[in-house]
Amino acid sequence: MILTEISKYCIIRKNTLVLNGVELLSDETNLPFSDFIKTIYKSQEINYPKFFKMDSLSKLAFVASEILLKNTAISENYNTDEIGVIIENRASSLSTDLKYQKSFEDKTNYFPNPSLFVYTLPNIMIGEICIKNNFKGENGLFVFEKFDPQFIEDYVSMLFKIGRINACITGWVDFDDLAKEEPIFEAALFLIEKQRNNEVSANSIIFDNQNLNNIYFNKK
């Protein structure tokens, strides 16, 4: 049996940024998403010009992954093809789909834009994380109505078990502004690794659906 742990986690929700249970940023000015995500980008000293070309979903996933991977030695500790990125989401790429729809709907202003069209696929956010970090392992984008920690446990554990991955960035990244003026957005990314020497250490968080759930719902 392979023992795996949640070695880090990062959660971004409206007005807050949490890393391993510690609130790194709290915005009391209620910034709109586009400003809020830029504030995080700057405050966490991320420097990646491609960020500004991304759609909202990719920005959210990318920033969460950068904070998650900061000060880790993932790329040194693992081969590039043994690091997986497995993400769940609710609204796929519908926010960008609607923007793109408007670019061709009006025939007097017909201008379908390729750099927008490419973001009408939810797995592009996985591509962005892989490109930044040179991760070449397993990819998966799964759509569920809500965060499904059991699926993550089952699927990611299976990839460890068959030896396909030795580390995984996994979790939930969703951005939806279809129904409401204010977007609903949420990123909860977890770094999953094998436990050192395959032993349970006192302060490690075992990778299972209960712990994913507790972290996601902020339960102790």
């Binding site: 892989c130 991760f135 070449k136 109505e145 089952d154």
Partner: protein, 383 residues
Amino acid sequence: MKEVYISSDNIICSLGFNTKEVFENLKKNISGVQLNSDRKYSPSDVPLSLINETAFAKECENCKIDHSFTKLEKLLIISISEAINKSAIDLSSPKTLFIVSTTKGNIDLLGKNEEVINDQLYLWETAATIQKYFKNPNLPIVVSNACISGVVAIVNGMRFLQTDKYENIVICGGDIMTEFVISGFQSFKAISPTICRPFDNSRDGISLGEGAGTIILTSNIQNLNEESKVKVIGGAVSNDANHISGPSRTGDGLHYSIKKSIEEAQIKESDIDHILAHGTATPYNDEMEAKAFALANLLEVPTNSLKGFFGHTLGAAGIIESIIGVHSLKENVMINTFGFENLGVTENLNVINKLTYKPINTILKTASGFGGCNASVIFTKET
């Protein structure tokens, strides 16, 4: 590792409403891609592979599907119904899981009424509609990984059967033709003005298609008909980590995926008798694939792309093309690459240019897509 068998399948595309009909049309070298001038699809004429509307309406009537379902949902329901007719599997069993593969789902509903946001736009809702229609008790899985979705869904089906939770997996995939998708590929200048020509030296872009496909997998040999003894024995997904809309220059991402599929299948490269490539007929994609096959020592293996027959069917592509591969195994015949004449990639790829009857036991299906993703799956015939 548990054995994973294909119990039954179905294909719906421009060339027919069941696998047999489509396969016969491929053997006759008939393409379903035709120049289309319907302005609901594009402001200019564009070659498309479309499902026959009259026949589709008749199929809906036969299956008694009412108008509350969207076009995509109807296609998936017809496809699954036809596949299940040939199988002993109980769709309502807790041991049966549905996996739905789609890139754009009911995207045709977007923009129809801006005031009302339709729940049917959400892919999990589409999957739930299918699951409820067939009275299945399990939460369905939706795979939406661009153009590799169909192959990923099959690989995942094989993986889920390794757990004790499930005994049968219904893998269905589909995407319909929309101005949304056509305009997007046009904006990339990626659509050929004629029927696409995969791996050819004059290739100039893809042809788009619509379709649906179903593969039912089982780990219970009692759920098999006498003739069906094709197994899924390996599969893997990878990323190029290179560019979100351009394929890798080296092919190493696809190569990783092929290598790992071969390892999992516990076979050698030389055991692969036939490759069904992705072969979109864009200059960069086909070149990348050829490089990956070279890295994997597979250049001599007879290889085709089926995109010239029924276009690129997005979320259905990996499923439909895998089914064709499975029937190639059963009938010992390899389908030619429609539109291919002269090799136009830098590697000496063995592209099949005519229908070839030959004993084949093991095949490889690959796919690559936006976001730099690649997937591959290996099927073998139990002898």
